[in-house]
């Protein structure tokens, strides 16, 4: 499984393993990158984040799940063979992809952490 591990402020593509975290959700762990305290790209986490924003807007779960799947596909396609990407790039691209399906959802996703 291909994931992106974060190195300082960069997300770096590398190989990793998948395991079940304490939250019960599958977490992608890159042992090498965890040492520098970075977080790792995970399709599951991205999908979970999109679905959570969908709940905030009271969207139908099934519809949001479908959007999330499509967006995850498109984001993974965008990542392609890039050796590294920044978290800001990932958020921007994800929001742009969501925007095709739901403008409000894209807005709330893009503005996470920019309210205060």
């Amino acid at each position: 499984m291909s994931v992106l591990g974060k190195s300082k402020n960069k997300l770096v593509k590398s190989k990793s393993e998948t395991r079940i975290g304490r939250s019960g959700l599958a977490k992608s762990i890159d042992r090498k990158k965890v040492k520098v305290g970075g977080k790792v790209f995970s399709r599951l986490r991205l999908k979970r984040d999109i679905m959570r924003e969908g709940r905030v807007l009271n969207r139908h779960t099934g519809a949001v799940e479908m959007i999330a799947e499509r967006v995850c596909d498109e984001v993974e396609k965008w990542i392609g063979d890039r050796p590294e990407i920044t978290e800001a790039d990932l958020n921007r691209v994800t929001a742009a992809r969501i925007r095709k399906y739901d403008v409000d959802l894209a807005y709330v996703y893009r503005n996470r952490g920019k309210i205060i």
Partner: protein
């Protein structure tokens, strides 16, 4: 007539307090965090407790400022202190115009980024009423650097009122100062989403900034005219 004047000053100070944005920002954060994981009813309860926390903190701060003023000055502020207060309030208007909002496209405020992250994390972890209440108190406390002058102004006017009206005056101030939060809760309960409110805030950011600064200036002029210059 004097009592009416003091009540008007309290209302005006409360109105200017209401234009400060930290409370409403934190409320939207709490809504955002809670709606993502809780049912609507639970979210409503959390937001109500958050608003009560803010309200209680402002009420306690105003009451204790009244007490401290009474102990130090034996009553309302003397003219010299009022002159300083007027100057500081006028200066605070510039603080609002140039410091309160960060230069970004969103509604990021003056609070240090580490503290903003802390609030975001706390909003995310808030799961029961006590936590929401405490978060409300924390937010009201964090707003103190900009709100303290307004509280002092209101406290001064509260002390000029007859004793039976003082508690009512404090309640009026708190109600007006927390009005945006209650209004936001009402709007969201009636079908608006946080996106609608946040979009409105972003769109009207400059307007809110101007209104807030002008409010400070108006209060300063009002105090100068009716409290400082009355005996000259």
């Amino acid at each position: 007539m004097n009592d009416l004047l003091d009540l008007f000053i309290i209302a005006l100070a409360g109105l200017v307090h209401a234009t400060l944005q930290l409370g409403i920002s934190a409320l939207l954060l709490l809504y955002h965090a809670s709606l993502g994981k809780n049912v609507k009813r639970k979210t409503r309860e959390l937001v109500r407790d958050f608003n009560l926390g803010i309200s209680l903190f402002i009420a306690l701060l105003l009451a204790s400022t009244c007490f401290v003023t009474l102990v130090i000055f034996g009553g309302a502020l003397p003219k010299s202190a009022l002159v300083i207060l007027v100057g500081l309030i006028a200066a605070m208007a510039f603080g609002i115009w140039f410091l309160y909002y960060r230069k970004s496209t969103g509604t990021e405020l003056w609070v240090p980024r580490s503290f903003a992250r802390f609030i975001t994390e706390r909003a995310d972890k808030t799961d029961d009423g006590v936590e929401a209440f405490s978060l409300g108190m924390l937010i009201a406390c964090a707003e103190v650097p900009f709100a303290m002058l307004l509280i002092i102004t209101a406290a001064n006017s509260v002390l000029n009122l007859p004793q039976p009206v003082q508690l009512l005056a404090i309640a009026v101030y708190v109600l007006i100062a927390t009005m945006p939060m209650w209004l936001a809760q009402l709007l969201i309960n009636n079908g608006k989403t946080i996106v609608d409110i946040q979009r409105w805030r972003v769109k009207n950011k400059q307007f809110l900034k101007v209104i807030s600064g002008v409010g400070f200036i108006t209060l300063a002029i009002f105090l100068l005219a009716f409290k400082v210059m009355t005996d000259f």
